[in-house]
């Protein structure tokens, strides 16, 4: 996926213009796990929305692997939000199945095979026994796992995660990190993860793109040199701390809060 010279301008209420993104260029290889990290207002969520096709760019381009560009982006991107955004009148299984029921093009597979895929995905996120439960019967961590399973249903090649664990408690979040990575390793999608948590970005990523605000731009790129698969034990090791420090330094060089 190639992001080239992306620029996004919002017109503000007073008639002025707010530059949310300026000259953002990045190359993300297929199967890579990349994190966009930066303080609030640096445009990382806007960038994610543009990649996911939710917001049009003002100029520049996002081109996917085999040259597929605009228009068809939403079908190729799975999205996970900060809130699980599950429909309360649907069971966990029906929520995972939702993407198959939407869109102008009917799914190429039959409904039956998609439903069995939905069950497999619930199994993958450890919720096989909760398929018939409603969202309010699940804990926050479980709800977010359902939303990850939903994002995986149509086998999108890119998975965009917008601060998906920010609302979870520390312990659940750490567990979700490990689970997300194991799902990523098995499914082989390209991960684009947005966070303002430097530890999270270091633990998850192959590469961290450091962003700064006003206007939002990517100012540095930090390659994480921790081996895979990653374990919880790595947190606190000298190697992990060193990676965190490099992300910090990269940000400090360009930005003073």
């Amino acid at each position: 996926m190639t992001i080239r010279d992306l620029r996004k301008v919002y017109s503000s209420r007073g008639g002025g213009e707010v530059v949310a993104l300026e000259g953002v260029t990045a190359e993300i290889s297929s199967g890579e796990f990349v994190t966009l990290v930066g303080p609030s207002g640096c445009g990382k969520s806007t960038l994610l929305d543009i990649v996911a096709g939710l917001t049009p760019e003002t100029s520049g381009s996002v081109v996917f692997g085999n040259g597929v560009g605009d228009g068809d982006r939403s079908a190729r991107v799975g999205l996970v939000f900060q809130k699980p955004v599950l429909l309360p009148w649907r069971t966990a299984l029906q929520n995972v199945f939702l993407p198959a029921q939407l869109g102008t093009e009917p799914p190429t597979k039959t409904d039956d095979s998609l439903e069995s895929r939905a069950r497999e995905l619930l199994d993958l996120v450890g919720l096989a026994a909760f398929a018939e439960k409603y969202p309010w019967e699940l804990s926050g961590g479980m709800q977010q796992r359902v939303s990850i399973a939903r994002a995986l249903l149509l086998e999108a090649e890119v998975m965009c995660l917008d601060e998906p664990f920010a609302a979870l408690d520390e312990f659940t979040r750490e567990q979700m990190h490990v689970e997300l990575l194991s799902i990523w390793e098995r499914q082989g999608f390209t991960g684009v993860f947005v966070t303002h948590n430097i530890f999270e970005s270091a633990f998850l990523s192959d590469r961290v793109l450091v962003m700064t605000p006003r206007p939002g731009r990517v100012v540095a790129e930090v390659a994480i040199d921790l081996p895979r698969p990653r374990h919880k034990d790595m947190i606190g090791t000298a190697g992990f701390t060193e990676n965190v420090r490099r992300i910090r330094d990269a940000m400090a060089e360009y930005w003073t809060g």
Partner: protein, 283 residues
């Protein structure tokens, strides 16, 4: 799977303690409510029997209860009171039915077609602000002395809460839900059927609850205006004959009728919008 175990334990803990407590507190509540009624009726009885309130203004509580018992027996045996009871019941139900159908349709049209909404919304607001009861004499001229004028009055009073709530419900879809659905490439009609209508259901049912109560108001007003049947007509006749116990009995029957009809809507809402109570969210 630790989540599961913790969740189950929690559920059990909550259920076992609250079930016992709920049983005890339910009995307590019933005792309190029966006592309140007994005190109310006792004070009424004392005030009327002692002559503090003269009998031509207020019959004694026992007189009213005796008349009520007589009316209920008459209803159960299919006597003239049954006809009155049944007439009002049908008027309320028809009024409710048409209010629901018209209210949901108008609310949906106004929220889906913005041009129509912009052209007519001020008049909907004005209509809602008008005391529709003022139309009652005209409604009799247009729809006659029979049941039709009562149903029209019921609809006139009851349709607005349904319109307003349908519009509010269809506009209530969460921003995050919209973002999700758009990211999945949903069409307009998929968005409507899969998300906006389910989201609107709790609002629509809140409107229907009000509509059922308002429909009874409209039906009784219709009976006051014209006709020769119904519980509203019975109270009017009782006034003319100065039979205050008859009037009270009919009012109690109207109250019971309204309460039961309202419960029906509440029960239907709990079944159809089963997620509302449990999820604890405005949805």
């Amino acid at each position: 799977m630790t989540d599961q175990i913790v969740l189950d334990e929690l559920n059990q803990a909550v259920e076992s303690t609250s079930e016992g407590r709920r049983g005890a507190s339910l009995i307590k509540t019933v005792v309190l409510q029966v006592s309140a009624l007994a005190i109310f009726l006792g004070v009424w009885q004392v005030l009327t029997v002692s002559g503090v309130i003269p009998s031509y203004l207020l019959p004694t509580a026992t007189e009213v209860l005796a008349k009520l018992g007589e009316d209920i027996r008459d209803i159960l045996s299919g006597g003239p009171m049954w006809t009155h009871f049944y007439t009002t019941l049908v008027e309320i139900l028809l009024g409710f039915f048409f209010s629901a159908v018209i209210g949901i349709a108008v609310g949906a049209i106004l929220s889906e077609f913005k041009t129509i909404q912009r052209a007519t919304y001020p008049y909907v607001v004005a209509g809602n602000a008008t005391p529709r009861i003022a139309f009652a004499p005209l409604v009799v001229i247009w729809f006659g002395f029979d049941w039709a004028s009562k149903v029209v009055m019921a609809v006139a009073v009851a349709v607005f809460p349904v319109i307003v709530n349908t519009m509010a419900g269809l506009a209530a879809t969460d921003r995050d839900d919209l973002r999700l659905i758009r990211s999945l490439g949903a069409t307009r009609s998929q968005l409507l059927w899969r998300v906006r209508i389910p989201t609107a259901l709790p609002y629509i049912f809140a409107g229907l609850e009000t509509a059922m109560l308002f429909s009874a108001v409209g039906a009784v007003i219709g009976e006051f205006m014209a006709g020769n049947a119904g519980l509203g007509y019975v109270t009017l006749l009782a006034q003319e004959l100065f039979r205050l116990d008859d009037a009270f009995s009919a009012i109690v029957l109207l109250s019971v009728q309204g309460f039961l009809l309202h419960r029906l809507v509440v029960i239907a809402a709990r079944r159809l919008v089963f997620w509302q109570a449990e999820s604890g969210s405005p949805k």
